[in-house]
Structures are given as C-alpha cells and as structure tokens.
C-alpha cells in the first residue's frame, strides 16, 4: 500500500511540473513583466523608470530563465523562473502584488471556504441520495417521470438564479438571515445557512438525476434479481443491496472533490461576502493580482491530484475486489 502511494506521488510530480510550466508560460512569456507593470501603473504613458521601480519592488526585475550576471548556482536561482515558479513546489507562494504574504492569507481564508463547502456537500449528498432512492423505488411510474422532468428543469436554471433568488426571498423579503457577511466562531451559522441551502437546492437537479441513473444501473444487475428471487422485500433489496453497491461510484465521486473544498466556490463566496479562498481569487482577478492567481492555479492542481490519490485509496477500502499493488 505505502509502495503504491509513493509511486503515485512520483507520478504526480511530472504533472505538477507541467502545470508549473503552463502557468509560467501564461504569466511570464505571453505577457512580459513589463506589460504587467504597465497594466498596474495604468495606461501607456508610463515612464521606463517607474516600470523598473515597480518590477524591483515586486521582484520581477530578474531575467526569465538564466541570470548571466550571477555566479554558480545563483545563475539559476536568481531568475524569475526559480523565484516565482519553482518555489511553488515548496508551497512558498511569496508575496502578492499588493505586498501581502500569500501563504498566510491562504491559511487564514481556507477555513471559511471549508465551513461553507463541507456542509453543502454533505447535506446535498444526503438530500440527493434520498430523492434518487425515492425515484428508483417508484421507477417507471408517473412520480418517477415527473421527478426526472423537475430535475431537468432544475438543472436548466442558472446557478446565479438560485443565489440571487435565495438572497432576495430569504434575506430581503422574509428577513430571516443576513444577506451577506461572515462572523467567526459559533455566530457564523446565520451567515452560513443561506449559502448552504442555496448550494444544496442548486445541486439537486443534476445530483438526483445522476444518482438515479446509478441506482437504476444496479437494479438491473443479476444479484438484485437473485435477492428478489429468494423472497426479500423491495425495500430491503433497495437499501441493503442496491444502495450499498451504488455507494462505491458515489463515494469515489465525492472523495475526488474533497480536497478541492478548501478552495471553495468562487460564485457563492463572492455573492455572500464570505472571506474564503473563492472570494480571495475573485478579488485577485478584479485587482489583477497575478501572484495570487498563479498560486491558486498551482494549489488547485495539487489538491486535485491529492483527490485522485484519495479516490484510489478509498476504492480499496469500500470495494474489497480492488487491490493496489
């Protein structure tokens, strides 16, 4: 098992190098640091001196790949490639363009993100599985048909509608909870409940439909027929056999997104004013803070790869047929 994990981690390395190379090309080759400086200082009438000053201040004044002015190893370490890109591998994100420590910001802001994303995922999972089981139980009846129709209709509504509608209805008309904002500690719940409800409702359509398909696939298997043949009731078959077997694909689908929950949802967080990593990214996009966007891209890739690894491991736990060697 540990040999497998180590091997998988080694596989992940070239992928991370690829991601790093991609962001390097995107952020430093497509547009040179000069372009970025000009963008930040505003417009075309910017003197070369001020560009140089901006670059020095933010550490973009070094050569891209090889620093001829230095000696020895410093030839390679005194470059943008090393300082801005390779350091990401050590999770040293450096300073943002506005001068803040990105690592510190991330460690502060991932908890509010998680506080929204985790309950949304768990409650959503429970609700979706319940509905999907209901539809599977009443399969090929009008309840099933209309359930699927409602699911498709709910899928077709833009996520923005759920958020804006939820804020308007619950926050403004009914005045139950604050529309947006955040608080630390126990008092956070009244800021969290609306985003979680909106997130769950927004996911019902696609989630229920997907799980229903999974259940129906299992229901047509041979073992279900034998279970019925030996006289088990439909409920027993559904809960003891179908549900437990369908949980394997459901679980693996959930595990892969678990690490990404730290990043949070860009949309939800910016609408509800949650100080998480999602709104952090949006602010960075709006302020054109490249250092933050670059760090988030890299962090996202790392978390995704961890998710894939966790998926493989969780397979061995829930499905004894799978062995990792």
């Amino acid at each position: 098992m540990s040999a497998y994990i180590i091997r998988r981690l080694l596989y992940a390395l070239p992928i991370l190098i690829g991601v790093n190379a991609l962001t390097f090309v995107l952020f430093f080759v497509v547009n040179s640091p000069d372009d970025m400086a000009r963008m930040h200082l505003g417009g075309k009438r910017v003197t070369d001196q001020s560009i140089q000053a901006w670059k020095e201040e933010h550490g973009y004044d070094k050569p891209l790949l090889i620093n001829q002015a230095e000696q020895g190893m410093a030839k390679f370490t005194g470059t943008i490639l090393y300082e801005k890109s390779i350091r990401l591998f050590l999770f040293d994100f450096g300073q943002s363009d506005s001068g803040r420590d990105i690592s510190h910001d991330i460690s502060q802001r991932m908890w509010p993100s998680l506080a929204i994303a985790l309950p949304t995922l768990l409650v959503g999972l429970a609700v979706n599985i319940t509905f999907a089981l209901l539809l599977a139980f009443f399969r090929a009846t009008y309840l099933d048909l209309w359930g699927v129709v409602i699911c498709v209709a709910m899928m077709s509504i833009s996520g923005l509608f759920y958020i804006i509608g939820g804020q308007f209805l619950v926050g403004k008309l009914l005045n139950l909870v604050p529309i947006s904002g955040y608080d630390t500690g126990v008092h956070a719940w009244k800021f969290l409940i609306l985003p979680v409800i909106v997130g769950v409702i927004g996911g019902i359509g696609s989630g229920t439909r997907w799980y229903r398909t999974l259940f129906l696939e299992e229901i047509h298997r041979d073992y279900v027929r034998s279970a019925r043949a030996k006289g088990l009731s439909e409920q027993w078959v559904l809960f003891r056999h179908v549900l437990r077997n369908a949980l394997i694909p459901i679980l693996t689908g959930v595990v892969v997104v678990l690490p990404l929950l730290f990043i949070g949802s860009l949309l939800t967080e910016s609408f509800f004013g949650i100080p998480g990593l999602g709104s952090y990214t949006i602010d960075a996009i709006n302020n054109q803070d490249f250092a933050i966007v670059r760090s988030m891209v890299f962090l996202g890739a790392v978390l995704y790869i961890i998710g894939l690894l966790l998926t493989d491991i969780s397979y061995t736990i829930v499905d004894p047929r799978v062995r990792l060697d």
């Binding site: 070239p14 992928i15 372009d35 498709v152 077709s156 990043i263 860009l266 996009i285």
Partner: protein, 462 residues
C-alpha cells in the same frame, strides 16, 4: 439602403459551422444507417418540440450574425461613405427597438419612468413626478389610460399575425395541400409532426404578439441607460449560441485527433497524450479560465491599437473565450474517444484491415472515426447547455465576454444590485433568466433524446 458587409471572426466561424452542418446533412440523407437515429429523434415528441424551439433561437442568432456597416453619407466625389458602426440584420428588422431609448429604468408596459424627476409644466411651475416615457405607450393619452385593453388588443392582433405566418409556412411545407395541414391540427391524428407543428404555432404566436407589442411598449421594460430589455435579450441569443457551439467546434479537431491516436497507437503516443490531458485536467477549470482571460485582458489593453473597432475587439474576446473554454473541456471527450478506440482496435474488422496491409491513416479515417462519431455527437449536444450556463457565471466574475457584448451574463451582472432598490427592478434579471432557461431546458431535453437515439448501449436496455 446600401451597406458594406462586415465579417467578424466569429461570423466567419459561424459560416464555417453552417457549411459543415450542410455537408453533414447532405451526407446523412444519403445513408440509411446514419439517418435512422435521427428518425428516432424526430419521432419523439420531446425531440420535435425542442427542435422547433432551438430552431427559433438559431434563426435569431443567424440573423444577428449577418453584420454590415450602414451607409452614413457621401464624400465630395459622390462615393458612398460607410459608418464604422457594425449593425446586423436583426438590428434592421428590430428597427425602432434599438433606437428608441428612454432615459433610465422603466417597468414592462410602463408609460411613465421608474424614478421621479423634476418636471417643468407648461404653466412654468415645477413638480416632482414620474415623467412620461418618450416612446413607451406614446400612442396613449397623457395619463396612460386604457393601457390594459390596448395591450390585450395588440397582443391578440399580433398572435393572429403569427398564426397566419404559421399557416402560410405550413402550407408551403405541405406543398399547398390544405387537407394535410388540417390533419396536422386535428387532435389525436396520425400526422408525424403534430407536436412539432403545435409547438411552432405556439412559438410563432407568442413571439409575434411580443413583437407587435414591442412596437408600442417596452415589453420587458428598459435598463439603467434606457435600452429596451427585450431587444437586449434577443441580441444576447447570438452570444449564448456562439459560446455553446464554437467552443465545441474549436476543441473538436484536437480532441478527436489526439483521442483516437492515443487509443490506436498506444505506447509512447498514448503516454504523451495522456500526460497532456491529465495536466490540463488537474487545474480547476475556473482558475485556468481566469488566468488565461486575465492574460488576454493585459494583452488587449497593451495592444489597443491593433484592433480597428470596439466591436472587433469585443468579438475577438468572445472568440478567445470560446478557445479557452475549449481548452478546458476537450479533455473529457478525448478520454472517452481514447477508451472507445482502445476497444475498437481489437475488433475483427480492424484486425482484418491491418492484415490486408491498409495504412494506419486509412484505418483511422475509414474504420475508427465513423464508429466513434456517435460519442462525439452526444458530447457536443450534452456540453451545449453547460456552456451557455457557464457564460453567465463567467461574465459575472468579470472573466467572461466583453462588457460591450450583449449577453445574458452581462444583463444579470448589470441588474443584480438593483434588487436592493425599493421598489425592485426585476425585469432585466427575469428576462435574462427566462431566455436562458428556455434555451437550456430545450437543449437539455433535446440532448437526452439524442443520447437515447444514438447510444447503442442504452437502446439494448430498453
């Protein structure tokens, strides 16, 4: 009216798409086995209804694609001078809808502005009141009396016109055989296109009624700068359709080529291609799009003089958005095609072709490609609705289309803060969501029908 045609980049790609579609239709019609699944789609009731609705959207979008510069006058030698403003055929048809601007917000069917202003009366005194709209309900009396009756009368008249157009269209389609058309309308008849016919009647009647009313009122109100929301929603159709279709068009060649090559050649080709898509896939889509769009914004603002006009710039930005969405979405199709090709290459007919000494390229094109096309088609149709919805979200996070491009995302973005007003400005939001919902719902239902008709695995289960 003379004009100078303009072909923007996205226009050119739309024409290419129409051309490819025409070839596909022509090719399909000549082969029974290709036609069969489409027959199944056309026989399905949901398939018919959604096809009619999608066709309506496509027609509006295509009309909006025929761009030109209108003539603005003549120079000294009497040669025509064309304005740099880019209009489309839809703008010409919409005519007054585009030009009749109010001052600011007004509710649907309103005769008065939404906010109070200081008005000077003829007698010289000034009062604070809701001023009369310049165009909305201008044919009514000053107080706007008799509005409700007028709206209903105009709507009924418009619907009647729409029904007449429908009748004419149906007569033409049925080669002037009146009995067949009557058959179509009869409830419970055996006419194969009954649902489609009724849907078309409904769509035409509703649209014609709205169109008739739009000549006298702002049917869906006006926005902050007084532009007609109905016109904006219609203009946004093109953007939505473009994002949904062009994205797939630009990613398709890479996905198909790399997918079937990875599956067919295996070995190091497979490793390289797998590495490529795993790497791209491991970056969360939104973040990759954000990074790329951010870089493009910088490029555009630093090279502003490379673009002839704002329209061209907005258009290129739209195209780039399609490209970058394509880069993030081709990986799933590529993986599917690789898996399917891995299966196909072991089948007897491919083995036989190889034994006969048929070249790799020929095997790929003649034997592998036609047998994975159903996967490609299903993916195109399934992806469409997701992309239309993604546009709105991306425009909201300001990494979507240019703010100058009319799109549902921009409409929502511009209007969402107005919900905090009292009374609420709801019409822009509702119009954008409504138009988007209709398109996406139709696309979702249509994609289900297409998948059922084309996926051999599903067919066996039935």
């Amino acid at each position: 009216m003379s004009f100078q045609p303009v072909i923007l980049w996205t226009d050119a790609l739309v024409y290419l798409l129409v051309f490819l579609l025409a070839i596909t239709v022509w090719h399909t019609r000549r082969h029974q086995h290709l036609l069969m699944p489409w027959r199944r789609v056309a026989q399905s009731r949901i398939g018919q209804a959604t096809m009619v609705i999608l066709a309506f959207y496509v027609i509006v979008g295509l009309l909006d694609t025929l761009h030109f510069n209108p003539r603005s006058g003549e120079d000294e030698q009497g040669r025509a001078v064309y304005s740099t403003e880019v209009l489309s055929a839809l703008d010409v048809i919409a005519g007054p809808l585009r030009t009749q601007r109010e001052k600011t917000y007004s509710a649907p069917f309103a005769t008065h502005l939404f906010s109070k202003e200081t008005i000077e009366r003829a007698s010289g005194e000034t009062v604070r009141d809701y001023p009369r709209l310049q165009y909305g309900g201008a044919h009514l009396a000053e107080s706007g009396e008799g509005r409700v009756a007028d709206v209903f009368a105009k709507a009924a008249f418009g619907a009647l016109k729409g029904a007449l157009v429908w009748l004419l269209l149906m007569l033409l389609l049925h080669r002037l055989r009146v009995r067949r058309v009557a058959h179509l309308l009869m409830p419970g008849s055996t006419h194969p296109w009954q649902i489609g016919g009724w849907t078309a009647l409904l769509v035409l009647a509703v649209f014609a009624a709205l169109w008739e009313l739009a000549g006298y009122y702002h049917v869906l109100g006006t926005d902050k700068v007084g532009e007609d929301v109905f016109y904006q929603s219609l203009k946004s159709i093109r953007t939505g359709l473009l994002i949904g279709t062009l994205t797939t068009l630009v990613m398709l060649p890479a996905a198909i080529l790399l997918g079937i090559m990875a599956g067919y050649f295996r070995g190091w080709v497979d490793d390289v291609i797998q590495y490529l898509y795993t790497t791209l896939n491991s970056i969360p889509g939104v973040l990759l799009i954000a990074a790329a769009v951010l870089m493009m914004q910088i490029y555009m603002s630093n090279h502003a003089d490379e673009f002839n006009s704002l329209t061209e710039r907005a258009d290129l930005r739209l195209l780039f958005l399609c490209l970058i969405l394509g880069v993030t979405s081709w990986t799933s199709l590529c993986r599917l095609l690789r898996g399917e090709t891995l299966k196909l290459r072991e089948l007897e007919y491919v083995q036989a072709a190889r034994a006969f000494g048929v070249g790799h390229f020929r095997i790929l094109v003649r034997h592998i490609l036609p047998n994975v096309m159903h996967i490609v088609l299903i993916t195109i149709v399934l992806d469409f609705s997701g992309l239309v919805l993604a546009e709105a979200v991306l425009s909201y996070i300001s990494i979507g289309v240019d703010p100058a491009t009319s799109s549902w995302g921009n409409m929502i973005n511009g209007a969402r803060l107005e919900l905090a007003r009292e009374p609420v400005v709801w019409w822009s939001l509702l119009a954008a969501f409504g138009f988007m919902f209709t398109l996406v719902l139709a696309a979702n239902l249509f994609s289900d029908v297409v998948r059922d008709a084309f996926d051999p695995r599903l067919r066996r289960q039935r």
